[in-house]
Every structure is written in C-alpha cells, then in structure tokens.
Symmetry: C2
Subunit: 317 residues, 2 copies
Amino acid sequence: MARVPDVPDLVARARRGEAAAVARLISLVEDDSPALPDVSAAVASHTGHAHVVGLTGSPGVGKSTSTSALVEALRRQDKRVAVLAIDPSSPFSGGALLGDRVRMSTHDTDEGVFIRSMASRGHLGGLAGAAPQALRVLDAAGCDVILVETVGVGQSEIEVASVADTTVVLLAPGMGDGIQAAKAGILEIGDIFVINKADRDGANTTRRELRTMIGMRPEEEWKPPIVLTVATKGEGVDDVADEIANHLSYLETSGELKARRTARARREIEALALASVQRQFESESEGIDDLAAQVEAGDLDPFAAAQALVDLSGGGR
Amino acid sequence: MARVPDVPDLVARARRGEAAAVARLISLVEDDSPALPDVSAAVASHTGHAHVVGLTGSPGVGKSTSTSALVEALRRQDKRVAVLAIDPSSPFSGGALLGDRVRMSTHDTDEGVFIRSMASRGHLGGLAGAAPQALRVLDAAGCDVILVETVGVGQSEIEVASVADTTVVLLAPGMGDGIQAAKAGILEIGDIFVINKADRDGANTTRRELRTMIGMRPEEEWKPPIVLTVATKGEGVDDVADEIANHLSYLETSGELKARRTARARREIEALALASVQRQFESESEGIDDLAAQVEAGDLDPFAAAQALVDLSGGGR
C-alpha cells in the first residue's frame, strides 16, 4: 500500500522550493490520488502568480531544443521556470525525464528550474483533467513561468492551449508546415508564432504564408508576433522570451488574463463535478443492476430509469 | 417551430406497421427531441421481440450488397426486417436512403422491410446514445430482425457490437483483411464471420487465417461459424440467415441474450443519467460563473467548487 501523504507538510516544503516535495505532489496528481482534493485545497490560496505558457508544434520543428533554449533565456531574466511535459499516450511516466531531453540535463543542477514529465492516460479527463492540478502545484511552488508541452501529436497539441495563458506555436520552414498547421487548428490558438530553423531555405516564405493566414483570423486586439529562431544556436530565443512577457502584459491590462483563467476554472469545475457524479453512480452498482433488469424486461423505459438513478445517487450529497 | 408530436398516436400507428409513423419516431430520436422520454416510455412495454443483428466490416468487403442479399434471405423466411444504417460522421441525414444503396431499392415496395439511415453526430452520446432508442422504436413496430450497420470505419465499426444481440463480421479474401481486422479489434466482437467475394482467389487462405485467429479467443460455448458467400449472386446468404437464427437460439437457451441486453440497458441508463446531470449543470450557468471566479481568485479550490456545483444543481431533482 502507498504511504498516506502528509499533504500540508508536502505543500509547505514545495513552497520553500524543495523539488522532491513538488515532484511528490505532482505524482499524487498523476496517480489521481484520493489525496488530490486535499492537495488542491492546500495550494489554492497560493496560486495565480505563475504565467503558464503552452508550447506546441509538429514533430521535427525542434520543440525540445526550443524549450531548452527558452528555459535558458528565462533564467537569464532571473525567472523561476518549470517545464511540464505531458504524455497523453503513456500509461506511466515515473516522473523521469523524457528520453530525448538530453539537452535539458544542462538545467539539472540549476535550482531555479524544475523539469517534470507526466502521464495523463488513465487520468480521469486525460490531459485536460490532470494538467490544471499539476500547474496549480507548480504555481504554488513559486514558479514564475511554467512551460507546458505535450509529447505526440493530434488533439493534445490543441489541448495545450486550453490550459495555458499564452500559447506559442512552433513551425519550421518547408514541409508545407503552414498548411498542416492550419489543418490542425493550430493557427487559431497561437498567441506567438516561432519559425525555428530559420537558417534554412524557405524561412521567409513560411513567414509570409503565416502572416497571410494570421491575417485571416478575426480582428483582435493582440496581433500575434512571428519570431524567427535558430534554437540550436540560441538565436532569436531572447526575443521569444520578450514576446512572452509582452503577451502577459497585454493579458493583464486587457483583462483577458482573468477572463481566460475564469473560463478555464469553469471547465475544470464542470469536469470535476461530472466525474464526482459518475463515481456516485458507480457506487450504486446494485441499484443500477435492478434498474437495468427492469428495462430489459420492458417494465421501465431507460429515461425513467436514468432519472431513478440520479435520484438514487442523491445527486452527490 | 417544429410541430409538437402526438407520441401516443405515432406509437399506435407504428405498431400497426405504418412506415411513416416509424420514420417520424426515428426522426425524433435523431433530433434528440424533447419528446424522446415520452417516446421511450410509450414503446418500452412493446420491446424485447426483435433480434438486433450488427453488420460490420472494412470498406470493400461488400457490406451494402451483403445487407441487401441478407434482407432478401430473411424475407424468404417471412421475417419482418428493418435496416438501420448509422452514419456517425454526418450531421444530417433527413432519413433518406444512402446514396450507395441502389440495390436496396428492390425492397422499396415491400411492406415487410423498413430501411432507414440515421445521423448520430450531434446526438448526445453519438452512435451509442442514438442507436438504442431507434432500435426500441423498430422493435415496438413489430420487426423480427433489425440489421444495424455503420457507414465509415474505425471506432463505430466496433460500437455496432455494443448495441447488437448478434454481430456479423464481414471480410473479403486478400488485402490482409485478417490482420487488419485483428488490429481493429473486430475479431473479438464477431459472433458470425462471413467471407464475402468467396469466388475470388484466397478465400480459403482467409478462412484458414481466420480459423486460427478465432481459435486464439478465450474458450467459449459458442464457436463462431465462418460462412463463405458471393453476395452479388446470393450464394451462401441463406446460410448466413440460418447462422443468425442459430445464434439467437444459443443466446436464448444459454441465458446470454438476457445478460447482453441487461448489460446494454445498464450502459444506456448510466449514459442518460450523466447527460441529465450535465444538462442540470448547464442550467446553473450563473452559479458556475460565481464558483469559477472564486477559483480564479484563489479563494476556493476546484474540487470544493465541483462539490458546490453538485449541491447547487440538487442532483437532478
């Protein structure tokens, strides 16, 4: 059996910056631990400081290298930085660094950087369910900037935006990236666009294409900037860090930060409430069996049975 | 505004075999009409007679032709037959026949056959949400056999099994169908296997492959038969109809029919109950806004807010 965690102690230690305590708390999130509501309650009043930045882009654009270079740039600005890498397909992670994160090892001995990968498969609600809790832990631990990225492609690339204050979309020249990105819905979610590997042919074409496509977005106050980088040489990465700071200022002064975070909280509350009701249903197994038998026999219709189940479970009270 | 349906009248007419009334009732299901609980209540006591047979298979195996030939075979046994084709990707159907269902037109003037396509996109719960209600309507209308098939591939091919008493898996020689099928999980769900286009090269190889793979399934009372057909010539199709009848006898005598249908009712009840709770949450929009604002401000944690939402909505009462 797992040791019962001393949540208040863990949170106090995490707030003092102890990486081991932060890691343990995130493991509780990852495992969907029964202690999760306690963790959530203990960190709630210490949240709201961290700037959550989602990093997204197709494989091959240099996401890992860019993340690493961005960590360095943010550290030069003396920010406390966390990297949360979420793997939506993996059923386990063990909290280990990702295999391809070799360059990240340069940050290993830097106390201002916390790096963690987290599996979200199996977690009720997947990425969308697990990430907000983990972000709250890192926020309460005093991080100034939290970089969130997903491993893999597809839906999870878009989902990153739903947990971030600012979304950075990474592209690379050529390979029809522009069109691919549009297809994946990635253009709509970008607050900042980065064309990495900008020393390659086609960087200006990609920028032009991108500008046209961004121009097709509905009129908005924030004009998403396009930054060219060569992450392997660190070129342009300070500009990305600056644009991230600019976007935060815009979010704060426009009231958009509060709006985005409130909308996020709303989705989170609804998802947790539904999960709670679903658990109550599961605890009414015998009652459901009885209702199902009546429906099978034609003595009850499924809608009436569903209402009976809702009544039976007492609506979570 | 849509006309308010006279549900008792529609059900009475459907039970007399009026195709127009059946079609109208299925449209109410398809549109997720507010009258749906009334429809469900009105048909409940008239259900349990029809044998629901799911037909599934990759594109190119001759599913439409096989369905049509099977309808003819079942009509020769003087069975009342319905075909419900579900399109999980289409947002509309209008109740029209599917475009590729040309051969089906031979049944158009046959009063013992009801053919209907139904869109399930947009319906809360997709195929799994819409199909059981439509099947109850067809059951109450006096159908002896209801053939259910999905348009398109992927998950919906497997979902068919979850609404059927008997699942028929269609394959064709060559094209690595066997392996593809195993990958898609189709082998696990088949109660009867049909190798169509059996006049082509490789039919026996496919049968051998299939037998080996079925042999790997856990020991079970029912040994899934493999039937070779040439649907375009009607060859072997009577054998399929016979195997369908055999499987029904097995289901009845083994008690498996009742078990499968009760398990199905259970899933349906849970899904409907969750949908009902979700609707209640939606009606508490102001309350959720207030909770979300508190979470955003750090005054409340999301788990406590979720519990407050469950309390607020009164658990559906």
